[in-house]
């Protein structure tokens, strides 16, 4: 069991084995994509595979895993071990659960874990998490508790000693809308995990070692040492910030204190709003995932996703809060809260790590559901995603309309119009929307849809950043707020609207915040923005202090005067 019993492998062989293990997990991901049934798996890669050591610590994860799956598998494994009790794991077992508090924070993500046996010993665990489109329930954005949100699968054997558990399968099949797809995905996930276990055993045979204990201990130890060294370089202190989400009935404040003490980070959400009876509560696992994701992105995006890297990071939040809700809080759209963690942590650290943070983006992710009946009487239901502008970065402008912190692509207009009785009239950048700054925030976009069907189309949406704009950092200005308009009139951002033939719905996506004072933006960059219509002549003068005459050329004397005044003003403020 102990590493002393193994022939120690040297650093070079360790590197080879580590590369191979990562490759095996990426191959599992590829196999899953190839065998899964659902489109979500195939196109959004909304899943991940991980490898846990015999002591339960996660030490390797497939490379394209989404942020919300960070660090949840060891929690799930612990709960599974507790549930199994003395009976323990047997070769060929696969356990399943989707309990939001034990997994990734909403019912749609199903976690499976199986042990890897080698030479009659359990040498580790393979985990797999995958998003399923439907998990039963009301599918209403108005869910008031978890029970309305669908089927909660407690820890169960979905496979016992190599035999599929027919009871569990029947329970699942009876409670979801498309059992072929959901069960097909689960079986593909199980097959990929079994193949992963087989490949790991083959690797052990190949290099002639009995287990992974030495490898996992080394990798975890080195990852942790690496992360601690990166944290150590950040000046000690407690850095605070808060961000205000629009919320449903009232604004919700997320407050954070990031404490750097030596080589550890403590992230605490004390002072954050309480949980709400709307499906935007972020369970502790989700809060921890996005918090760790943010620290990793700030310090070193290349650091492995494992328990070693995250060991020096602690995340705490008051019980019963929006970011650590108690059962049975509704959680389906937890991203509407979770997507605020990266900006709030980055703003806390902006003064101390100005070169490693970015201004707020026009997120959380926007979406609208569309339901209706085509003129040929067929029904449709479709989700349409939209992204606002990306926050400005310390060394560059924020790109226009880019998904962050999630990573969800848009639907091409031509595909959309082929499927739905809707015409998209406009999908255009909004001039002047980007938060002004030495580095400008990415522009938001305006999307206008016109209903063509004889019967009305129901739009349902609950989007953020309508009352509270994305913030600029370190002297950069805020980005623009979002708006929802029906036939040109502003409507509530979290509602439903039924549109008749010829009616239009317009989404104006929020833009990114700017970074550093705008008067420091190079004049040539401002002129380029004006030429392209990204910034108007008026904003060039008012926000950037660049005065352009009627012909579009720079009035250098006036520009110099305005910019000097701004610089002096900034100096005086100190």
């Amino acid at each position: 069991m102990t590493t002393e019993d193994n022939p120690p492998i040297d650093s070079i062989q360790l590197g080879v084995v580590w590369q191979r293990l990562n490759s095996i997990l990426d191959e599992a991901a590829q196999t899953f994509v190839r065998t899964a049934f659902s489109t979500v798996v195939r196109e959004n890669w909304d899943f991940g595979f991980g490898l846990m050591a015999s002591d339960g610590r996660l030490f390797a994860q497939s490379s394209r895993s989404v942020p919300s799956f960070i660090g949840t598998m060891p929690v799930t494994l612990r709960v599974m071990r507790e549930t199994l009790g003395g009976d323990g794991w047997h070769e060929g077992d696969v356990l399943v659960t989707n309990d939001p508090w034990h997994c990734t924070g909403h019912l749609n993500d199903i976690t499976l874990i199986c042990p890897v046996f080698h030479r009659d010993r359990c040498i580790g665990y393979v985990g797999g998490i995958s998003h399923t489109v439907d998990i039963g329930g009301a599918t209403s954005p108005q869910a008031r508790d978890l029970f309305e949100e669908g089927l909660c699968i407690p820890v169960s054997h979905i496979v016992r000693a190599g035999e599929e558990n027919a009871d569990v399968i029947r329970f699942l099949a009876a409670n979801v809308r498309s059992p072929t797809e959901t069960l097909g995905d689960l079986r593909a996930q199980i097959a990929s995990m079994n193949e992963t276990a087989r490949r790991i055993r083959a690797l052990l045979e190949d290099i002639g070692i009995d287990d992974l204990d030495h490898v996992s201990a080394e990798v975890l130890e080195r990852s942790e040492r690496r992360m601690r060294a990166l944290i150590e370089a950040v000046p000690d202190g407690t850095y605070r910030s808060s961000i205000v989400a629009d919320g449903y009935d009232e604004p919700l404040t997320i407050r954070v204190a990031v404490t750097i003490a030596g080589n550890e980070v403590a992230i605490d959400y004390e002072g954050t709003a309480g949980q709400v009876e709307k499906p935007i509560n972020s369970v502790m696992n989700f809060t921890r995932s996005y918090s760790c994701y943010t620290i990793r992105s700030i310090l070193d995006p290349a650091t492995p996703n494992n328990d070693g890297s995250y060991a020096p990071i602690s995340v705490t939040a008051p019980e019963g809060s929006l970011v650590n809700p108690q059962r049975p809080a509704p959680v389906w759209a937890r991203h509407l809260t979770g997507h605020y963690f990266p900006p709030v942590i980055m703003s806390a650290l902006a003064d101390v790590l100005p070169e490693r943070v970015m201004a707020d983006s026009g997120s959380p992710l926007w979406a609208t559901y569309l339901r209706g009946i085509r003129d040929d009487k067929s029904r449709f239901a479709k989700i349409f995603f939209m992204n606002g502008g990306h926050g400005a970065r310390p060394d560059s402008d924020g790109p226009a309309c880019l998904s962050f912190p999630s990573n969800v692509s848009n639907t091409p207009i031509e595909e959309f119009e082929n499927e739905l009785p809707i015409v998209v009239r406009e999908k255009a950048l909004i001039s002047d929307s980007g938060g002004a700054g030495a580095h400008r925030g990415g522009l938001g976009q305006r999307i206008t849809m016109e209903v063509r069907s004889e019967r009305p189309v129901l739009f349902s949406y609950r989007n953020e950043r309508v009352n509270h704009p994305p913030r600029g950092f370190l002297g950069g200005e805020h980005g623009s707020r979002g708006r929802h308009l029906v036939n040109g009139a502003v409507v509530n951002p979290k509602a439903q609207a039924s549109l008749a033939q010829g009616d239009t719905f317009t989404f104006e996506l929020p833009s990114g915040g700017g970074m550093f004072p705008a008067w420091r933006r190079p004049i040539a960059a401002v002129v380029e923005d004006v030429l392209n219509g990204d910034v108007t002549v008026a904003s060039a003068r008012d926000s950037y202090g660049v005065v352009l005459d009627a012909s579009g050329s720079v009035d250098e004397a006036a520009t110099d005067r305005v910019r000097t005044e701004r610089a002096d003003g900034a100096e005086a403020e100190r």
Binding site: S11, E27, Q30, R34, T180, R226, S297, E415
Partner: protein, 705 residues
């Protein structure tokens, strides 16, 4: 007499191959002349003919591949271009798909569009998704845009209107208006360039076409003139990105199809070896100075795709470039070549690439001031490369510099000796290439262990056997003349052209009458292009495929549609064809209805019949044992250290010769490393075929001494 010439313009060298009527070849290499690439061709052709003693009028054809198009886009050296779109859509080109290519890095660079916002214009018009006109084209708005474009001093114009893949009427009217009103623009219409659904990808492709079209035109005109001047009367053809060949006029009409023109040639050289040696499944592996490229040939057919990307911001990250919807031979690019730099990463492990020492200063052993430890430095210290025989002895390698680089970058931080460090670098390079190939094979649903590894490029044959061992591949092939394999591959490619067109419809609603009319139209256009290149009308093959998916999916699979299915208009058989293709790729079927997204027609000639080289005497190898030109210590894992190893000169090997590993075989462009337990045979095409042994790794109980 029929002499054929293949010319490949690469970044550094222009390679030429002359194929004689009796099947033997003459090669010539000279430096590329980037400012006027045609100069190297003309000089090269003259030199090649002189060397071969062949009169210029005996040349029957010249086939050419070029990186001109790719480089113009990568280096942003295309012409100023304007874009015309439907009202409300001019920013589609900039908004793209809204996706980050790296989820964990918020600081990634996003590629700038080729046309800045101020040169993107909108005209008033609208089609619906069926292609019906919702709003007619407002010609006054078009003329106003033309004026603005002329005002901006722009000559090349891309037009991409919504749903033009269904109905080109408005795009065509815009082009006609430009002609009628005397605007001398070079026009690229999305309905001509690539009439495929998805506005961002189609716009990106159309814009890229417009961006390079005048450059390709100019290049081809001066090349044509130059060739006439030196007396070449033979037809001059170009190889497209998908391995098809077309004449100059067709290439000028569709310049974006040239974007991956050169590398496809190497794959065709491999395919030709495969077809003559009864190997249908090849993993074509080309490892050069900065990257390795891999392409799967399955059942004799190179893997193809229409989803291509150019000018990646981050070289090996999918999604970081500009998307091009053009048919290409599918190649996986891996950030690992001879010049790839090895470092100790944040976890204290060796990482190789993707940073490269490039050609200047290059690996430490080039002695040109490079201090970074590279794969080539490691290969030199392990004895795989010889200090005296690099590039045929043209360049002496500095062993001490290599040792010093590996000592400071790898050995010292890890606390191991320099040889272990070198082995670690070699091993990690192999491991990362094997991983990439393995994941790629899974993506393509093939079992790579049933493939032979076909290795080319300067570093390919050095690493191939060790990579094969990691992948469980049993056979490695190192062709002769790997240094000019692209140019040779051009000579083996058929004439071919592909057209495609989106026409989305569920299978059970497919209007076969309309499909047949679209297919007939595409076939006729492709036939015309081939006839124009001199292919006889009755000497062509026509292949029809459909890109299909389940309703609601975002990506398609390619399904072959037999002509009789099309003629019969059989919905059920189309469904069955989809089911079969889907099952092969994904192993299961869904409970959902499939649809056709687009139809594709490929018209191709039979591959050219190339003369076989004179049959080698059957006993040439059998009767004599080749004599090594020397011996040197070479490191192998299986021997746990250096062993004295025979070194052969490849030019001294004859078909039938058999060499047992460990052995090293040197040639001018590369070195073939045959590890212990492997056996190399020279086949009748003078390729070295290595049978990979089992015993690549010592068993566990043998290591613990």
């Amino acid at each position: 007499m029929s002499y054929r010439i293949g010319v490949d313009i690469g970044g550094t060298f222009t390679d030429l191959v002359l194929l004689r009527p009796e099947g033997t070849t003459v090669i010539h290499k000279l430096l590329t002349t980037p400012a006027a690439p045609e100069r190297a061709i003309l000089d090269g052709v003259n030199a090649l003919l002189e060397r071969a003693g062949v009169p210029v009028d005996a040349v029957s054809s010249i086939i050419h591949g070029t990186t001109l198009v790719a480089n113009a886009i990568i280096e942003r050296k295309g012409v100023p271009t304007a874009l015309i779109t439907t009202t409300g859509m001019r920013d589609v080109l900039e908004i793209g798909r809204e996706l980050r290519y790296d989820t964990y890095d918020p600081f990634i660079a996003i590629p700038r569009p080729l046309v800045p916002r101020r040169h993107r214009f909108e005209v008033s018009e609208r089609l619906d998704a069926t292609g019906a006109v919702l709003e007619p084209l407002d010609e006054a708005s078009v003329l106003a845009v033309f004026e603005a474009i002329r005002e901006a001093g722009i000559d090349s114009v891309a037009v991409c209107l919504l749903h033009a893949y269904r109905n080109p009427v408005h795009e065509q009217r815009i082009a006609a208006l430009a002609r009628e009103r005397g605007f001398g623009f070079t026009m690229s219409l999305s309905s001509d360039v690539m009439p495929e659904i998805r506005e961002y990808e189609r716009t990106s492709t159309t814009v890229a076409n417009a961006y390079v079209k005048p450059i390709v035109d100019e290049y081809l005109v001066s090349l044509d003139e130059g060739l006439s001047r030196i007396g070449v009367r033979a037809p001059f053809n170009l190889m497209l990105s998908d391995g098809g060949t077309v004449d100059m006029a067709a290439a000028a009409e569709h310049p974006i199809r040239l974007v991956q023109s050169g590398p496809a040639g190497g794959v065709y050289a491999a395919q030709r070896w495969g077809s003559r040696s009864e190997r249908g499944n090849l993993l074509v592996f080309d490892m050069g100075g900065t990257t390795a490229k891999a392409c799967l040939i399955h059942d004799g057919e190179p893997s193809r795709t229409s989803d291509f990307e150019v000018a990646r911001e981050y070289r090996f990250k999918q999604g970081s470039g500009l998307p091009l919807k053009v048919p290409v031979v599918e190649m996986l690019e891996i950030g690992c070549g001879g010049g790839s730099v090895a470092v100790i990463d944040g976890l204290g492990m060796i990482r190789v690439g993707p940073e490269s020492a490039g050609a200047e200063p290059g690996p430490a052993c080039y002695g040109a001031g490079g201090a970074a430890a590279t794969v080539t430095d490691a290969d030199l210290l392990l004895g795989y490369l010889s200090a005296d025989n690099f590039l045929g002895g043209a360049m002496r390698l500095d062993v001490d510099a290599a040792r010093e680089a590996l000592r400071s970058a790898i050995a010292e931080p890890l606390g191991v000796d320099v040889v272990q460090a070198a082995w670690g670098v070699h091993e990690m390079a192999n491991e990362s290439m094997a991983s990439a190939a393995s994941v790629h094979a899974l993506e393509k649903a093939v079992d790579v262990q049933r493939f032979s590894l076909f290795a080319s490029g300067g570093a390919g044959p050095v690493h191939a056997a060790h990579i094969a061992q990691k992948l469980g591949i049993r056979e490695v092939v190192c062709p002769l003349g790997a240094g000019v394999s692209s140019a040779f591959g051009f000579l083996t490619a058929p004439f071919a052209f592909e057209f495609s067109r989106s026409n989305p419809a569920p299978v059970h609603q497919t209007d076969f009458g309309q499909v047949r009319s679209h297919v007939a139209d595409m076939e006729a256009r492709a036939r015309t292009l081939l006839q124009q290149a001199g292919v006889a009308p009755d000497a062509v093959l026509v292949e029809v495929t459909a890109r299909m998916r389940y309703l609601g999916q975002g990506y398609e699979i390619v399904v072959t549609v037999p002509q009789d299915l099309l003629d019969a208009g059989d919905h059920d058989r189309l469904r069955q064809a989809f089911d079969a293709a889907y099952t092969e790729r994904y192993g299961n079927l869904q409970d959902s209805a499939p649809e056709v997204v687009s139809w594709r027609v490929v018209v191709r000639s039979h591959p050219p019949v190339l003369p076989e080289p004179p049959a080698p005497e059957a006993t040439a190898g059998g009767s004599s044992r080749p004599r090594p030109k020397g011996r040197r210590p070479v490191y192998f894992a299986a021997t746990e250290g250096f062993v004295e190893t025979d070194v052969h000169d490849r030019s001294g090997l004859q078909p039938g010769h058999v060499l047992t590993g460990p052995v090293v075989i040197e040639e001018a462009e590369s070195t073939v490393v045959v590890p212990p337990g492997c056996e190399a045979t020279v086949d009748r095409h003078r390729a070295i075929v290595i049978r990979i042994g089992n015993d690549h790794r010592p068993a566990a109980d043998e290591t613990g001494d």
